[in-house]
Symmetry: C2
Subunit: 302 residues, 2 copies
């Protein structure tokens, strides 16, 4: 796929995901007594970004022949889960960040107690929203399976588990095994959920769902190791943020473990993901958008 075509497609796909999210977020005007809470939920979610998780979800669903409109509630839900985790990560008791994407964080606007409740409500609203897929024609069994997937990948053995492990490892020297577990949970889990849910809603086979999970695992790992690599060796002007922060904070990363060799690991993980994808393509046909998305995330085409 040509880079300019891909860029155009991605910008449309992001806009679609944004519109879907907006549709399913609560309307503050509908109940005055909880208007401020609904408003804070919208503030937390509508802060821009490429909406990669819903883009992956909708595109995987389309690839397996599913109805992207009926997958809308889940596309919104996964972004609500991602946003709730950012709201809580930014809290004074966690990362104590007052800015995100150049805007005050949710707690900086609404207070930390209120932002805690706002994050809680977003997490619950994700499930309320996801359940709506049944009314749009997705078979109930698939909806339930996808809800279980969302809860598991967001929870103890996924995103939250990774967040907790990250807190425990702070100030320690994690092993490569720790790091892999952490990346797989903290970043990989929601990506895995995005692709797996897209496949499940479209009625992909068990085997296909497993392959998609494996693809997402490699993509997530490539993405995270690249992040380590760029922090150590990237060009500030290109990546748009200061480099060297991991070393300054005494953080063990793949760049600490492998030096510039970490770049080779990114390529290996990406190759693995693309090779698994090509197996799907033998049966299901070309996956041009997914393939280009994976290359993009691995930073090879830009």
């Amino acid at each position: 796929m040509e880079q300019t075509d891909f860029n155009e497609w991605l910008s449309q796909a992001s806009a679609e995901a944004e519109a879907v999210l907006e549709t399913y977020l609560p309307d503050p005007a509908s109940e005055p007594k909880t208007a401020r809470l609904a408003e804070s939920m919208r503030y937390a979610c509508l802060s821009g970004g490429k909406r990669l998780r819903p883009v992956f979800l909708l595109e995987t669903c389309r690839y397996f022949g599913g109805d992207a409109k009926a997958a809308g509630p889940f596309a919104a839900a996964i972004e609500m889960i991602h946003s709730f985790s950012l709201v809580h990560d930014d809290l004074p008791s966690m990362d104590n960040d007052t800015l995100r994407r150049g805007r005050p964080t949710t707690w900086a606007v609404y207070g930390d107690g209120f932002a805690t409740v706002s994050g809680d409500t977003l997490s619950l609203y994700a499930f309320e929203t996801a359940a709506k897929a049944a009314a749009l024609g997705v078979p109930v069994k698939r909806v339930l399976r996808a809800i279980a997937e969302l809860a598991a990948e967001a929870g103890l053995s996924g995103m939250c588990g990774g967040q907790a492990l990250d807190m425990i490892l702070t100030g320690r020297k994690p092993s490569e095994e720790d790091l892999r577990f952490l990346y797989r949970a903290k970043t990989g889990a929601l990506l895995r959920a995005s692709m797996a849910i897209g496949a499940i809603l479209a009625g992909a086979s068990e085997e296909e769902v497993e392959t998609v999970n494996d693809i997402a695992d490699h993509v997530g790992m490539a993405f995270q190791i690249l992040d380590d690599y760029l922090d150590a060796y990237g060009d500030e002007a290109v990546i748009g943020k200061p480099v060297g922060s991991d070393e300054k904070n005494g953080k063990t990363t793949f760049a600490t473990l492998y030096g510039r060799g970490a770049g080779r690991l990114v390529e290996e993980e990406t190759e693995e993901a693309l090779s698994l994808l090509s197996k799907l393509e033998e049966k299901r046909g070309e996956a041009a958008h997914l393939s280009a998305l994976i290359r993009q995330l691995a930073g090879r085409d830009h």
Copy 2:
């Protein structure tokens, strides 16, 4: 129903709910890297109490001829949701409580950042757990409906909405309408979810589920107004906690609005609940346990 029989039944029902909860909580030994998180989730949930929500859920399910064993995942889930809300309510940024039931609160043991994540994970684990009801034979459609109910009653228009409104009303003089909305959301919502989910899982009719919702509404309101009444006029020796705290904190309650007349409101709400229950009894037979539970909560038999 005799008080001694009821007491014995309630103590057995509470023990059953406790055992169900224990079964579905995660085992810290199963994954060492997230052991501390799983441990904190158990700590948050296993702090004693009468387990009224799962008791109501399981008893309502039994009353409508449902399989209480298959409702176990939801009984555990509703208590996880209740517990997660307590973990977050106790945080320094919220009520800043260091003790609950005579034990250090979760954040006092694990730190406030970690406790935030622990509460988040409990909330997500509730949905992961609830979805397991399908494997125990509950029709998938009912499981999905019950999950949607749980998310809605816990979320924006339920428990969390009430929590947020409570924060907004702090220091203001709420109207009776505000207070009723608050009580209905903050306390009533999970009680409503407990009874409605029990009925839904058992396959009760739409009309019956609605009646059960109305019953729970009146029970929740009676319970909360009684709380106001006892804080103003109760006997410390009988209720086991200091009285007069609402007045001291300048809180507007039903005792502020109605004085001793609030006691009459408790009776009216209880009568309403029992009268709706007796309509169900005409078709479905005697609801001895539910009726006794409602009287107990309204404080008339003790």
